[in-house]
């Protein structure tokens, strides 16, 4: 089943890479450069999953996660954080914000696909 996924990252290269990987797996992908842009896009578009960087200008990934969780239509949408930090306290922050899971950067394409498969089902 094709799903719609939004990738939020201030690095255009990163977005392109994620987008390419996910499109290759048959998904539709939306892009946003930061939390604010993501929220704007998500006002009009429904998605099955959010993959967001943590450290971004304007609005970071944790704030984006909290903002989405505050909206009823995103209460259950899977949100996966892209993080360079695997320290336990950083993970706890993500969890407290309401994220569903995390991926440590850098990652391989198959790691990304594995998370998506696990979250969205086959």
């Amino acid at each position: 089943m094709s799903k719609t996924i939004i990738t939020v990252d201030d690095a255009a290269t990163m977005r392109k890479m994620i987008s390419f990987t996910l499109k290759g797996a048959g998904h539709e992908v939306l892009e946003a450069a930061d939390g604010v842009e993501a929220l704007k896009t998500l006002q009009t578009r429904a998605v099955d999953m959010v993959i967001t960087d943590v450290n971004m200008p304007n609005m970071d990934g944790l704030t984006l996660t909290r903002s989405l969780r505050a909206l009823p239509q995103f209460a259950r949408t899977p949100i996966v954080l892209l993080t360079t930090e695997s320290a336990p306290e950083k993970k706890a922050e993500g969890k407290a914000a309401g994220a569903t899971g995390w991926i440590v950067k850098p990652f391989q394409q198959d790691q990304l696909l594995a998370v998506v498969a696990k979250v969205l089902g086959p």
């Binding site: 290269t13 392109k16 604010v36 450290n55 969890k95 994220a99 569903t100 850098p106 990652f107 391989q108």
Partner: protein
């Protein structure tokens, strides 16, 4: 879709661009940091640049860049947390570090690999700086081991995970949300204050583990959604939109000629989008007037303090928006008006107390939008303008003659203060006596297409009303043709369009002392022939015999209406106003130029300048003065009156609505029919009545020097009668309160008009006594409408 290899190449290209841009930014922010010009966001920006490079490089398998980036990231993370002191060595090291990253990126671009340069010395420096700061701080010994490259990511078995894997591996977010739904009640009972959050968070309720709305509120706050844009950039954008509007006009014009449906549809769409774009761009340049006003409280405080006055400043309509170019243009005039109001308007507390006013004077600034214009009013409750003193001053400075002074209406007198070189200040204070007078205020406001009006009442205060356009750049305009040239008339000055067919024109256009007028719904409209004023010498008449239709554009300038006769009325268009070169700045008739749909230039008429050139508004006449007089108007009603002299020194008036025409006849044309004097007029016999015979006055003298006789033609029920008068003086619109004290026939009463005692002629009575049969068929009484 590209293959993986192609993608990799593409992504590396992207990475190069992105990273180099980032590193430039890194340098700039670093320098700002060094100069102490950093913003709170500077450390974040610096950190993020490196963070992004590291993350992207890692994903692309560029392990050397990644590991070098990683070392710097650790140090920058401490910098961000304020745990590293900014020192010159730190800055230098970090700049060298940025150069190292650049070198690797160049190598990647040129050689296809990250290069063989050894950066261990630099990395050691970074680590030392980091260790130095760690020694002083209690926390953090994060990643010296990360300097050993590559391995880190691979060391993690999976590199990802789900937070809920341990308790519930299935639908990750759903479960906690459901449990949340049933949980609240007991929790609230037990721990009403802080417990809910702390109790929930560890057990994993992602949905509401923080107060809802917090994130949402941040998301929409202005700080997060607004960006700063260079004003020059906006101006450029505005210019481009201006060009687009012109191109759009051309396309729309052409597509109308070519009968192609899809082209027409596309051009219509282009039309709509352009308009929307134009509006949006215009909005980006809008600023609230409050931006200018913000400095006024301080000015009022200072000026009042210096003069020993007490002033309360009230500002209404701060949020009223204006184009920034206009905001700029009104800044100084407004400041001057405010200084003036405090200096000349508001009295000292002692004087105010003596006049039964509160010690504190009131100064009100009001701004609001109305009819596509912005209105700004500055009101004070001071002493008002002393008319006789203003006149005296104007006389002293030879700005007016004694005769003008005597005839001047209040409003005309008020407007004297706008004359160049006028100042009513008895002693020149250092505040307003600096050579910048109200004339400069008026000129500056008129320069941007605005107008200034002044109302004042002795001891009650003064109000200055300013009307200015919302924007200067793009305006709606009516395009007309005259003498084969096209001209644009700004829509704000336009009242209506009148077209007279040849026959109508011959009858409708009259001459009043050689000046053509047209009666528009009872009001005499002075006519200005554009081709004559501009010396175009075009085909159409200059007001004489006409055998073709006449197009009249009814305009308003400075509160006065006039009709402009043009050859052709074309269309209404949005035009882009472009300034004229300095060689043409002296031409008051033009406000600028614009480029038309066909690419040719058309001049934009300056309606006020043109009216002055045509001498239609030599003096400012009274039109809106009565607004102020609403209170004392009670019984009176505004009327347009024809003023004339019968004998020397006796001015009389009749309502203009009773006047059919104004004519001049040579005395030699008078014939007698029985007891009556008559003239032949339009194939009929026009009985004449000499007004001087019927009202108590000196004999008719004024016109005796000439052979011409002034006749006011009065018509009713198809019958006409000519009232012979001495001279016709003027037409005014005035609120007249009739004093019914004159007991004699033929006079309804008297009033003061233009500072002259004026008798109101009882036309019906005069006619009745001259020709009792005139009303035999109709008993309609004629008189003033009071």
């Amino acid at each position: 879709m590209p293959t993986n290899e192609e993608l990799q190449k593409q992504l590396i290209q992207d990475l190069l661009v992105e990273s180099n841009e980032g590193l430039d930014r890194f340098d700039r922010e670093m320098l700002a940091l060094e100069k102490g010009q950093a913003t709170p966001d500077t450390p974040n920006i610096i950190f993020r640049v490196i963070h992004t490079i590291k993350g992207t490089a890692g994903c692309l398998g560029l392990s050397k860049i990644e590991s070098v980036a990683h070392v710097g990231e650790n140090l920058l993370s401490l910098l961000r947390e304020g745990k590293v002191t900014v020192t010159p060595p730190l800055i230098s090291t970090l700049l060298a570090y940025a150069d190292a990253l650049r070198a690797m990126l160049s190598s990647l671009r040129d050689e296809g690999n990250e290069g063989s340069e050894d950066y261990s010395a630099l990395l050691k420096q970074l680590q030392d700086l980091q260790a130095a700061s760690s020694a002083t701080s209690t926390e953090t010994i994060p990643a010296p081991q990360a300097a050993a490259p590559v391995a880190a990511p691979a060391a993690l078995p999976q590199g990802w995970g789900l937070f809920d894997d341990e308790p519930a591996p299935a639908t990750p977010a759903a479960t906690p949300v459901l449990s949340e739904a049933v949980a609240p009640a007991p929790v609230i009972e037990r721990a009403p204050v802080v417990a809910p959050v702390t109790a929930h968070a560890p057990t994993g309720t992602p949905a509401t583990s923080h107060p809802p709305g917090e994130g949402g509120a941040r998301a929409t706050s202005a700080a997060d959604t607004a960006i700063r844009v260079n004003v020059e950039q906006l101006d450029k954008l505005m210019n481009l939109v201006g060009e687009l509007v012109l191109a759009r006009n051309q396309i729309v014009q052409h597509s109308a000629l070519i009968q192609d449906n899809s082209l027409i549809a596309a051009s219509q769409r282009l039309n709509i989008i352009t308009t929307e774009l134009q509006e949006s761009v215009m909005k980006t340049r809008m600023q609230p007037i409050g931006n200018v006003w913000a400095k006024f409280p301080r000015i009022v405080r200072d000026v009042a303090g210096e003069l020993g006055k007490k002033v309360q400043l009230v500002m209404e309509g701060n949020e009223t928006e204006l184009d920034r170019t206009i905001i700029e243009a009104i800044k100084d005039p407004l400041t001057h008006i405010i200084r003036n109001a405090i200096d000349h308007g508001i009295e000292t507390p002692e004087v105010r107390r003596g006049g039964g006013k509160p010690d504190e004077g009131l100064l009100i600034l009001r701004a609001f939008h109305e009819g596509g214009q912005v209105n700004i009013e500055i009101m004070d409750d001071g002493r008002g303008i002393n008319i006789s003193r203003v006149k005296e001053k104007a006389l002293q400075r030879a700005l007016i003659t004694a005769d003008q002074s005597a005839r001047m209406s209040d409003r005309e007198a008020f407007n004297l203060i706008f004359l160049p070189g006028f100042s009513t200040a008895e002693k020149v204070t250092n505040l307003s006596g600096r050579g910048v007078g109200m004339d400069v205020v008026k000129t500056n406001i008129e320069k941007i297409g605005g107008s200034v009006d002044l109302l004042s009442e002795a001891n009650a205060g003064t109000t200055i009303k300013i009307k200015i356009p919302l924007t200067l750049a793009i305006i709606p305009a009516l395009i007309v043709t005259s003498g084969r040239e096209r001209f644009a008339i700004p829509q704000v000055s336009l009242l209506e369009l009148v077209r007279l067919e040849a026959e109508q024109a011959r009858k409708g256009i009259e001459k009043l002392y050689g000046a053509p007028v047209y009666r528009l719904r009872g009001q005499l409209l002075p006519l200005v022939y554009l081709n004559k004023e501009l010396e175009l010498g075009g085909a159409s008449s200059t007001g004489g015999a006409v055998d073709e239709a006449v197009n009249i554009v009814v305009l308003q300038a400075d509160g006065r209406q006039f009709g402009m006769v043009v050859d052709e009325i074309n269309d209404t268009e949005e035009i882009v106003v472009k300034p004229l070169g300095k060689q043409l700045k002296g031409l008051a008739c033009f406000a600028g130029a614009t480029i038309m749909g066909d690419g040719r230039v058309a001049l934009i008429l300056d309606v006020v300048g043109l009216a002055q050139h045509a001498q239609v508004i030599r003096e400012v006449r009274d039109r809106s003065m009565t607004e102020k007089h609403k209170g004392d108007a009670r019984a009176s009603e505004r009327q347009t009156l024809l003023l004339f002299d019968v004998g020397e020194g006796a001015q009389m008036a009749i309502p203009l609505s009773m006047v059919a025409r104004l004519e001049e006849f040579p005395r030699s044309q008078i014939e007698r029919s029985g007891a009556h004097e008559v003239v032949q007029y339009r194939g009929q016999i026009l009985p004449l009545v000499r007004v001087s015979d019927y009202v108590r006055t000196v004999a008719e003298t004024s016109a005796s020097g000439t052979d011409l006789m002034q006749v006011v033609v009065y018509s009713e029920q198809g019958r006409s009668i000519g009232l012979v008068v001495g001279s016709i003086n003027d037409i005014v619109e005035e609120a007249v309160t009739v004093k019914r004290d004159s007991a004699h026939d033929g006079i309804l009463g008297s009033a003061v008009i233009q500072n002259r005692v004026t008798d109101l002629l009882d036309v019906a009575a005069v006619i009745r006594s001259a020709d009792p049969s005139f009303y035999s068929s109709s008993r309609t009484p004629v008189g003033l409408a009071a």
